[in-house]
């Protein structure tokens, strides 16, 4: 158990160390590494192209890499871009998980709306790169954060490991309706109607709140 925890800790710390070594100067290099890995794998086993595992693994790697870049990169704009990449990766995961509708709205809502908002704000405030993550605020904070993160990851791994073996699944083996807009809409407007309305109220509230907050001065 403890070993597994330590393992998770080491994994994360190592990952951070590596990326800090490479990034932000050579962000391209990370992508290159990704591509190289993929190519190597295909070269070894062309049949892998047809397997879900190959693509899932590729996407997963990209996702984690981009996530790390978000955290590592001092430039907010770059973080935004990598977050977009990450969101796309997750959208792809949704596709693999037979959730086409989720994938679609993932891109529409996140990539299309939210991230544009972030982009817009970053441009509006015209933010420069954060003057080094090593600025004041204490190394303790950062080190503690990383260590705690390692522990956390280790715990999660442990919990996942302990779920016990679940059967494999075939992405194709599904009722035709699964994951389509029609199904989801059915649920939303029957069982989760109240929650749905509540969500709409939440959005309105958020909208008004945002307007009030961002207004230069109220009348």
């Amino acid at each position: 158990m403890v070993i597994r925890l330590l393992l998770g800790l080491i994994v994360v710390v190592f990952a951070f160390a590596v990326i800090r070594a490479l990034a932000p100067a050579r962000t391209v290099l990370a992508g290159a590494a990704l591509a190289a890995g993929a190519v190597a794998l295909v070269a070894l086993n062309p049949a892998a192209l047809a397997t879900v595992e190959f693509w899932a693994g590729l996407v997963g790697f990209a996702a984690i890499l981009s996530a790390l870049m978000i955290v590592i990169h001092p430039n907010p704009m770059v973080s935004v871009l990598f977050l977009i990449v990450n969101l796309f990766c997750i959208a792809l995961f949704y596709l693999i998980l037979n959730a086409q509708f989720l994938a679609a709205i993932q891109i529409i809502v996140y990539a299309g709306a939210i991230m544009v908002l972030f982009l817009f704000v970053v441009m509006l405030l015209n933010l420069k790169a954060e003057e080094g993550l090593t600025a004041r605020g204490g190394g303790l904070q950062r080190i503690g954060a990383v260590i705690l993160g390692g522990l956390f990851a280790g715990l999660l791994f442990d919990a996942i490991r302990d779920r016990g073996a679940q059967p494999y699944f075939e992405p194709g083996s599904f009722a035709s309706g699964f994951g389509t807009a029609r199904e989801l809409g059915g649920l939303l407007f029957t069982r989760y109607l109240f929650a749905f309305e509540a969500a709409s109220l939440l959005l309105i509230a958020a909208m008004i709140g945002a307007v009030i907050l961002a207004k230069r001065r109220l009348r």
Binding site: M1, Q141, L148, L151, F152, L155, D158, D162
Partner: protein, 657 residues
């Protein structure tokens, strides 16, 4: 009229309320004076009517339940009700109080004319309050009510002594008028403790606080308790009536305006002690020991104060000490069982002492505040009325017939002799001697006072002499009235053996002082006659007075400069006397110094220990928060980190369970 008894104390109280609340701002002087005097006059009229209607009986007027205290297991009711009672004794008192009080109110109008309006109103408000309280004291039907009045008059005396709280009273002693007031108040507190304790003892013994009830039950009280109660009450009386050793406040009470000295510290309040003693007469009759002590103390006080009085140079101080000595006289009478005489003297003294003070006030008024008799003299020509009235008063107090003092003093001495009985017990004779001696000394220093003030050549500086003027009618009128009073009041109690007039007062007061059988028996026993025939005694007393006057005349005829002991720097006994036997200093050394030391210790303890403890508690809290605030970096990230840590801890419990 009798039913309006409750109104008598209430009227001055209303006056107090009116002047106190509105006087300073709204009412003009005229109205203030009108209210002040009017209320008292009304009270006087009411009292007169009530007394006429009373016709020597006894009338009680319970008003409302004041302190409902349930019942004893025995079933007797403990409730104290607020009520008034009128009987011959209190009748005499209220007449004296309201009558003289009214005159002095009138006098004050003139005396206080130079006061600013606010002070004027304040003065009359206080005076009225005093009247109300004094009447409550006199009329109270139960001890607590009396005590309320008792404390009330104490308060008023404090307020009025300190009336000019911003002025210096005694430059040498660095004593301000406020200090004088405080001194009076505190000294009285000592007595009041005794009063309260006595009250409680009686309550415990008889189960009631109603005076009548107590007096009726007095016979059944254990003699020890009885004596204790009597002595404790007497302690209170000492406080109010300025007996040894608590007399020290009275001379300093002269810091107040002269009318106040006249009203409160001569005529009325200081006699409260005597009044209560007489009121409690049956109780004392059951405690002969206590009575003896009363007599002794009274006698000693009389002589002691008289001696001091000789050497005083301040006109009011002289009068003050004479007051003390006269009060001693009354106490002596009370102690000797001659309550009638005591009350008689109380009354006459009220007249002539008030007169003396008012006269002195008039003099001071004329002299623009000068009080030192060594700088006076020859005022005879300038203040004829004052001079005449003052002379009457002097003769009265010196005991020259037919003035009031003669009769009352004589009756007291007679009473003392009677106490001694046929054989004449040495104590009684000694006390009688004291009385005679006091009489002589009194005559001496009063004559001295008179001569130094009015006779001889003027000794005041030139410019003062031009200002000299007789006081306005509003001041002289009361003088005249009082002079008449002090000239004739004596005829209310002419001793039988002289004949001519019946002894009105004795007959009037008889029902009170012949209550229980025991007392009757005691009086029987004393009635038997005295060691000396009354005639002889009277002669001796009269001779003593004349001797006093003569010697004084001899010494001071040509003014103080020729005065033997008074002139050259005081020596020996004179010095002692001038220093008032250094009683104040003695009390200071014996009582106050240790007390101050104790206070200092207590203060040190408070600062060093208590405060430090409290502060250290605060400091501890401060320190704790100083440490705690380090956790508050204000950086959200730090909080988030801790939050994350907590999450992980929880997760550990969930996952690794």
């Amino acid at each position: 009229m009798l039913q309006l008894l409750w109104l008598i104390p209430l009227l001055p109280l209303a006056g107090f309320a009116a002047n106190g609340l509105l006087g300073a701002r709204l009412l003009p002087r005229r109205i203030v004076a009108l209210v002040g005097c009017g209320s008292v006059l009304a009270a006087f009229v009411l009292s007169a009517g009530a007394v006429r209607e009373l016709a020597g009986g006894r009338f009680t007027q319970p008003l409302f339940e004041w302190l409902p205290m349930g019942q004893t297991p025995g079933g007797s009711d403990l409730t104290v009700s607020w009520g008034y009672a009128l009987d011959p004794l209190s009748a005499v008192m209220i007449l004296v109080v309201t009558g003289i009080g009214f005159l002095i109110h009138v006098y004050s109008i003139g005396y206080m004319e130079h006061e600013p309006r606010a002070g004027f109103a304040r003065f009359f408000a206080y005076l009225n309050l005093f009247m109300a309280m004094m009447l409550t004291l006199v009329l109270g039907s139960s001890l607590p009510v009396v005590f309320v009045g008792w404390e009330g008059v104490g308060l008023c005396s404090y307020l009025l002594i300190g009336f000019w709280y911003d002025r210096m009273f005694d430059e040498k002693a660095k004593m301000s008028c406020a200090d004088a007031g405080r001194k009076a108040f505190l000294t009285n507190r000592v007595g009041d403790v005794g009063f309260v304790l006595g009250m409680l003892i009686l309550f415990g013994a008889t189960g009631t606080l109603d005076i009548q009830g107590i007096l009726e039950g007095a016979g059944s009280i254990d003699p020890w308790w009885c004596g204790a109660a009597a002595l404790l009450l007497f302690l209170g009386a000492c406080g109010k009536s300025a007996q040894i050793p608590l007399y020290v406040w009275l001379p300093d009470a002269m810091a107040g305006p002269t009318p106040v000295s006249a009203l409160i510290h001569a005529a009325t309040m200081v006699t409260a002690g005597v009044y209560v003693t007489c009121r409690m007469a049956p109780l004392y009759l059951h405690a002969p020991g206590a009575m003896l002590i009363v007599a002794v103390v009274g006698g000693l006080t009389a002589l002691f104060a008289a001696i001091i009085g000789i050497a005083q140079d301040d006109i009011k101080k002289v009068l003050a000490y004479s007051t003390v000595s006269q009060l001693g006289y009354m106490m002596l009478a009370a102690g000797a069982g001659a309550f009638t005489a005591s009350v008689f003297h109380l009354m006459t003294h009220a007249f002539f002492k008030a007169l003396l003070f008012l006269g002195a006030g008039s003099v001071i008024h004329a002299m623009a505040g000068e009080q030192d008799i060594r700088r006076m003299g020859g005022l005879r020509r300038h203040l004829p009325i004052t001079h005449a009235t003052f002379l009457v008063a002097v003769l009265a107090i010196a005991g020259i017939p037919p003035f009031a003092g003669f009769f009352s003093k004589d009756e007291i001495l007679a009473g003392v002799l009677e106490m001694g009985g046929e054989s004449g017990s040495p104590v009684a004779l000694a006390l009688w001697g004291l009385g005679i001696l006091t009489a002589a000394i009194t005559a001496f220093y009063m004559t001295r006072l008179y001569l130094l003030v009015f006779a001889g050549a003027p000794r005041m500086p030139e410019e003062k002499r031009h200002h000299l003027h007789e006081s306005p009618a509003v001041m002289t009128l009361p003088l005249v009235v009082l002079a008449v009073g002090s000239a004739l009041a004596g005829f209310l109690g002419v001793p039988e053996f002289i004949g001519g007039l019946p002894n009105y007062l004795e007959h009037y007061l008889a029902p009170i002082f012949a209550v229980s059988g025991h007392a009757a028996a005691l009086t029987e026993q004393t009635q038997g006659g005295a060691a000396l025939s009354e005639g002889t005694a009277l002669g001796i007393a009269l001779f003593a007075s004349l001797a006093g006057i003569a010697s004084a005349w001899a010494v001071y005829r040509r003014g103080p400069l020729a005065a033997g002991p008074g002139a050259a720097g005081p020596r020996g006994l004179t010095r002692l006397v001038k220093g008032r036997f250094y009683v104040d200093e003695a009390i200071d050394a014996v009582v106050l110094a240790p007390y101050r030391g104790l206070c200092r210790v207590a203060a040190a303890f408070d600062e060093r220990i208590v405060d430090r403890l409290v502060n250290s508690v605060g400091a501890a809290a401060d320190l704790a928060s100083q440490l705690g605030r380090l956790a508050q970096t204000g950086y959200v990230r730090n909080y988030a980190l801790v939050f994350f840590l907590g999450t992980i801890v929880v997760l550990v419990f969930v996952v690794l369970r």
